[in-house]
């Protein structure tokens, strides 16, 4: 393979391409407690997110459907994996940390509470060098907040 795009391997790590091509939890949840739609009008990304809560209020299951670029699809896929078992507050906290990571490439105080989770999300940190793509990575998390807050729509705008 030519090296024309070699320096993009940071952004498109293998795990991103893999989740982009074969997103996990890519399905409807017919017994969802909460759903929300997330839109990025700029590039036409649109996801529908489904959340099922456990009796204790924590996230028992998360899934999504929709369309989007590799970054937004991979981010949604990784998110659904990562938030399972979290309480709503934990999930939001994690989302805030992730957004910091996506925007700056680092998240100094992240290791403290969610070391493992942040490590799983780390492959998306390369997006911070591509300002126009940050929204792709954060769309799923905006949508999660909306679902947890009972809103029906989120927009990355």
């Amino acid at each position: 393979m030519s090296g024309l795009f070699d320096d993009l391997r940071d952004l498109y790590q293998e795990v991103i391409l893999d989740h982009g091509r074969k997103p996990r939890n890519f399905r409807r949840l017919d017994d969802a407690d909460a759903t929300a739609r997330g839109d990025n009008p700029m590039c036409g990304d649109r996801i529908e997110l489904f959340i099922r809560r456990a009796p204790d209020g924590s996230i028992a299951d998360a899934a999504f459907q929709g369309r989007g670029c590799a970054i937004s699809t991979a981010s949604a896929s990784l998110m659904t994996e990562t938030v399972k078992g979290k309480t709503a507050d934990e999930a939001k906290d994690l989302g805030a940390k992730f957004r910091e990571l996506a925007m700056t490439g680092v998240c100094p105080d992240c290791g403290a509470s969610f070391a493992d989770e942040m490590e799983r999300l780390a492959p998306l940190s390369g997006v911070h060098e591509f300002p126009s793509r940050v929204k792709c990575a954060t769309l799923a998390w905006h949508t999660l907040n909306a679902a947890l807050d009972g809103a029906k729509e989120a927009s990355s705008e």
Binding site: M1, L4, F5, D7, L17, G20, M42, G44, D45, A70
Partner: protein
């Protein structure tokens, strides 16, 4: 099939006229700017004309009784005359300066649509329109009830003239508003025929020349349309200035959209009297320096010659058509007979946005998305949008080769 541009058209020399093309780029790769359809780069003569205006001859227009203001007024009105000549208008007074073609079309939707058309009359657009030629008519419909009809296009991206005829047949259409050239498909529409068909059914015609005016000689008298518009920044001119041309008898009947200084003859608190066209439509201080820049841009393309520009573009279109056909997994949107230098495509392995990010790294500037033509993408089932490469007069065949090569490699990258 590979026609050559005339010998007089020296693209290497032309590229030297555009300072940005010789700017050092990030990562040392030369800039391959293939987004001229969104907005074109500016030649030095345009930049210089604006600088000269601001450094030596600037004042507000139409107002002062002193030399500088006269100079500025003359420059502003000379730009109007140059614009009139550029599209072969009969008189400079038929030229209204707007911010861009979006405002020009809104001006028609307001002045003709709300001001002159009857409530029962419909507006007929087409599936290939830019949002600027869709949304104003939706607003008119939602506000005044004028039906909005949409002429279908064929799978090859051409207007379906049978459908056009059918939708005109009941004589209810008051205005046909259609792009002279699509900003996604590249399709050049058969404007003379459209005009003949529309007029036969009593409808006026507005042509959105945002793309077409850049690529070929426009003659509004020969076309026979009622309104024509284009936008400065795509014609190698400044941002902040656009053009609406209208038949004077139409402009006369249209109420103004904006009120303010310079568009009235007399003002009392009870009543104001509109100034004659085009002043009636140019409330407030206009884009003076930008008009001067547009004038320079028009002089620039006129000196090169619109026919030469068209021939160069035709050679690029032929080259791109054959070269892009060799890229595996690439689907081109639209295959009109008569087309300009705009190519939207989908690559099987990559989302348009990811693809654009890759190409950007290779120094290639293309657009990803729906290019302000969402219904058109929906029509072709491309909700994710497309990636689009569009050419300017400085575009070379080598740049198209670089694009094709990069697309081939990008596909490997994502597979």
């Amino acid at each position: 099939m590979d026609t050559l541009a005339p010998a007089t058209f020296d693209v290497a020399r032309i590229r030297q006229d555009f300072p940005i093309l010789s700017q050092p780029q990030a990562r040392g790769r030369p800039l391959v700017f293939l987004d001229s359809g969104a907005s074109a780069q500016k030649p030095r003569v345009v930049i210089d004309a604006m600088v000269r205006c601001m450094e030596t001859a600037y004042a507000n227009v139409h107002r002062g009784a002193y030399r500088l203001s006269e100079l500025a007024t003359n420059s502003y009105e000379a730009a109007r005359e140059a614009t009139a000549r550029f599209i072969n208008a009969v008189d400079a007074r038929e030229i209204v300066f707007t911010r861009n073609s979006t405002e020009a079309m809104n001006l028609v939707a307001h002045g003709w649509g709300r001001g002159v058309m009857k409530p029962g009359q419909a507006v007929l657009i087409s599936e290939l329109e830019h949002h600027a030629n869709i949304v104003p008519w939706q607003m008119l419909r939602d506000d005044k009830g004028n039906e909005l009809r949409v002429c279908r296009i064929t799978d090859s991206g051409e207007l379906d003239l049978d459908d056009l005829e059918m939708k005109l047949a009941d004589g209810k259409v008051g205005l046909v508003a259609i792009a002279h050239m699509s900003n996604v498909l590249g399709t050049v529409t058969p404007v003379e025929r459209i005009v003949a068909m529309a007029h036969a059914h009593g409808a006026k015609v507005l042509l959105d020349g945002s793309q077409a005016a850049v690529h070929r000689r426009v003659d509004v008298q020969a076309i026979g349309c009622d309104f024509y518009c284009f936008t400065g920044h795509k014609l190698y001119g400044p941002t902040g200035i656009g053009v609406l041309w209208g038949k004077p008898e139409h402009l006369d009947r249209m109420p103004p959209m904006l009120g303010g200084g310079d568009m009235i003859s007399y003002v009392t608190f009870e009543k104001s009297e509109w100034a004659p066209v085009p002043a009636k439509f140019e409330a407030g201080t206009p884009a003076i320096v930008e008009a001067v820049g547009l004038h320079a841009a028009i002089d620039y393309v006129t000196a090169i010659g619109m026919p030469a520009i068209e021939a160069h573009e035709r050679s690029l279109v032929d080259h791109a058509t054959s070269t892009l056909a060799t890229v595996p997994g690439l689907t081109l949107l639209g295959a009109a007979q008569d087309r300009g230098g705009v190519f939207a495509f989908a690559l099987d392995a990559a989302h348009p946005h990811d693809l654009a990010t890759l190409l950007d790294r290779a120094g290639i500037a293309v657009r990803a998305g729906r290019h302000c033509a969402e219904p058109l993408h929906t029509r072709f089932g491309l909700e994710n949008g497309t990636t689009r490469a569009s050419f300017g007069l400085y575009t070379t065949r080598e740049e198209i080769d670089i694009l094709a090569q990069a697309l081939t490699e990008a596909r490997e990258f994502f597979r």
